[in-house]
Symmetry: C4
């Protein structure tokens, strides 16, 4: 495994990490979850990503149970949670948004579900236009000073919102955010590469990126339509379908076909190639992998080998798809 | 139920909330208290207001017992307490005013009585001329940083006192107050509408208002004198009588008669009309309702319907009473 | 009982308070200690003063046991401790002076001995030339923020040292000291009346004063030599003798004789007169009384009556002795 | 025993202290460890130095067990730990360097191993180029404010790194470092005497120095080669051999021979003479002694006598060796 600093911080995360998004508590039950986390850990993954919004807490409970069961050493791994998920779908108005109450309650609930004394990373899962950034920064600072959170960050915030958080922190001597969790893959590059460009040097911001396979699109599995066993066929998460396929003018399926064709040409599987492509960006601290089987996870982990062995000319060809 | 932000903070309170003032531990015993809080919760109320000064702690103990008994989810509701009640009636000099000792002891006692780990809202129940504002702000900041209080505020403080609290907080990087709890109703408008006017924008101050019915006067129940069963006839709280009826030049009973007459004309009950009138002020975060029976509470909750359905012309007519 | 604010703070202390100095754990055993504290409490005293240096902790353990036994309500009384007593007599070098370690350890030990969760008042018992004031202020701030101490202060510090503590606190946004505990009586006035003069207004400093009877000298009991039963005859505390009698040029015994003669003229006992004299200084927040018997304590408490009833002309005559 | 302030702080450490480096958990087992610590304590040593890196935690566990067994009074002694040891040899990437996670986890682990509620001293064992100094200072500040650490410091940091830590602390009102733990002996003087020279006055920095005997070289035991029983012959710590003997141009063995020859001339043992030489530097707060037997420790403690009795002319002669 390769390890990278979380931005300019001293925390060393595995370049590939394991996320519970969509899978845990859905397709993946306890037996598979245990095998997945064991395989991840055995292969050097030390960062397990989660959120209160993943399966309404079920993903965190499952991960907490499995990690406890596997007796992973607490100081050897990092676990994250996230508060608020953008849509105000929680039936309790007090548990929407990034208010001091929600941030605090969500932290405590995640600690219980994940069975830990502190969260290594705690993200504001989306910006909340209905809470002043100042309130959220003060709340995060209190959690860090109480020892319940080590590093806090944001997920899919705009540059302006991130700057505002840093400004509030500096003015009031509060703990500033350390990392962002943006979507990043061959078909979704603008935020990580352009919008956030000044932030890496300015604040030493780290990026833990999600959806390196564009929700599976880059594996080529939707090149010829949506198979019955795939996540996209699950009516419970039908919203995902639109998210993955996108608008026709984005040509997402066509570009995925071109990409998988290139992968075949290079003699590597498309998934590890797409993941390795993300790792070529030095501002990426960790690429979060989801998986429903150990085989799938192991294949994705081949990205590290691809990264080291693929010739520069091949990467050059991929640029066409990515642009 | 409608939910509103507590000022510019991210906390979403029900526009109508339930307060224990006067009733809990007085006319209202445990059985009724349980029914009232259950009905409030079932109707979407998520803020339960209390104070150490309500029944010398009995109101808080009763509410704490009932909420625990009903197993309300801690992250779904907000509960408040208040320290100091203006009059120095506590036999213990150490428990008068807003000293660091009283603020701290009162918080701990309220946590015990309400059976919670933290207070969502904690108010300085009146200004205390015998304690520097600075001392109180430092004490509140310590409680917030220790996780025992989420939001702190004031009740019936002057603009100058509120500004002073913000100044102290800003200069020393302490947590500033978020909300005020002023009296507000058709017959008592000056402080909320004029005196506090600059504070809403300047500090994002929220207002949780009390006595929307002017202690019952606006229901019309005192239009023809004080009935034997009413709170005002209770000799234990005879001071309330002067407070409600006021001086002759205020014409409070006369204006209440005019108001109830208008309500009859509009075909709505006076109580929900008076409450809805408060809600029309966008600076009001929540209107605190007291009740001695579930029927009374349910009637008051009709204010939300009145607010949505009453024609503008009717509100226009009410202005005459309110001015 | 009369209650006074601790300087400009909001804490209301009884104008007369009860101290364990010299007596507890020495002449006074558990039975008498219990009677004394019960009598003090019954007469409205709400501040019990102590120090780690009084009887090497025995005075605190005794007071803690007795207060627990009497079941005094924690929020109704204030208890103090003090760290470091000037002379480096502790056999453990780590427990001398006002280092962060000694301040922290001493607080924890006092909490245990006094059987409380927090100290209401915690004093630096003497200035420590071997510890930077900055270190002590940071240590006290940490204890206050952790909720283990409510108010911290100094005892017999110079004006310059007190100013330095305030400067450090202001520059680093730390909790500043609230009170001083100086010696004050008719024969020892300079520090309280002249040296500290600017501090009362500048910092709102409160003064809890000790030795109002000049170690008994002002009762007249040493007018004709030292009786066998008195504290001064106890060889274990022989240093006290020099402290009380002083140098010949101070004319302490002569002035005590003049004072007791005046008391006889006014028809009041000398002890309550001397104590009442201290209370006439508005900068005195509380006068600490020591006592070895309930009778003695009750006589001293008559100071409040003397204060209210003695004619101005009498106080005028006392000036001669005091100057 | 002589006691010295830790720099300008108020903490009084024994001028000679006892360190677990190399010996504990290696040559020294539990029985000897108990005898060593008992002898150290009986001779006035009040500072026991340790680190997570000494025997991968075994040295701390052993010391914690023995101190608990001996029932040393917690407020009478000081114990230290250190986080990170320069080489990135920990198999867990999260436990390398001075990240907030490692600093926090290491503190908690040391508290458990040493069986204490707080560390008196906590050092950053080496500078970490892969963590911003700012992150480490914030992490240390949080531990101090939580009461888990009293004084924090550095070990073998450059002047620039120490200055940076103070700058970050001052700008953000955080607790600044108090002490350094550099190597210091007759053959290794530059850092303590020249490089750090401005820091003692500027920040009141204290120095607790290690290896006063240059890993035994100054005892003369390697004058004629490495004996079989010595630490240097232990293959498990063979790296130490190069460290001790050094490069030929340093003439370390030759200078050690000259030094031991001088000691013979003065009629004192070389070890206490070398230790006493360190104590002559007023910027040295404590010299840390390692020992594998009580006899060896007692001999080393004679340094205090040597310091007091050796004539100035003798010290003058030693200068030649030291330069």
């Amino acid at each position: 495994m390769q390890y990278r600093r979380l931005g300019s911080s001293g925390l060393q995360l595995s370049a590939l990490s394991f996320g519970a998004w969509v899978t845990f508590g859905g397709q993946v039950g306890r037996t598979t979850a245990r095998k997945l986390i064991a395989a991840a850990w055995d292969n050097g993954i030390n960062f397990f990503d989660n959120a209160e919004g993943y399966g309404h807490g079920v993903a965190e409970s499952l991960m907490g149970d499995v990690i406890a069961d596997l007796r992973l050493p607490r100081d050897g791994y990092c676990v994250s949670s996230k508060v608020f998920f953008g849509a105000n779908e929680d039936p309790r108005p007090t548990q929407r948004g990034l208010s001091r109450k929600h941030v605090t309650d969500a932290c405590h609930a995640a600690l219980r579900r994940l069975r830990v004394d502190y969260l290594d990373l705690f993200y504001c899962h989306r910006p909340d236009p209905d809470t002043p950034v100042e309130e959220t920064v003060w709340a995060m600072d209190a959690l860090v000073r109480q020892g319940k959170v080590l590093y806090w960050g944001t997920s899919e915030w705009s540059v302006g919102q991130i700057r505002e958080a840093h400004k509030v922190a500096r003015q009031n001597h509060l703990v500033a955010p350390t990392m962002e969790q943006p979507q990043y893959n061959l078909l979704h590059r603008e935020r990580v590469e352009l919008e956030y460009a000044p932030l890496y040097a300015e604040y030493g911001m780290g990026a833990t990126v999600w959806s390196p396979l564009a929700s599976g699109l880059l594996t080529g599995k939707y090149n010829d339509g949506i198979p019955e066993q795939s996540r996209l066929a699950d009516p419970a998460i039908s919203w995902l379908r639109g998210f993955v396929i996108g608008d026709p003018e984005q040509r997402r399926i066509e570009r995925a076909r071109e990409f998988t064709s290139l992968a075949r040409e290079f003699g590597v599987a498309p998934a590890p190639l797409a993941i390795a492509w993300c790792l070529r960006n030095p501002h990426v601290s960790s690429v979060i992998l989801g998986a429903t089987s150990v085989d799938q996870l192991l294949q994705n982990l081949q990205a590290l080998e691809v990264l080291e062995t693929l010739e520069e000319a091949c990467w050059h060809k991929i640029r066409v798809v990515a642009n």
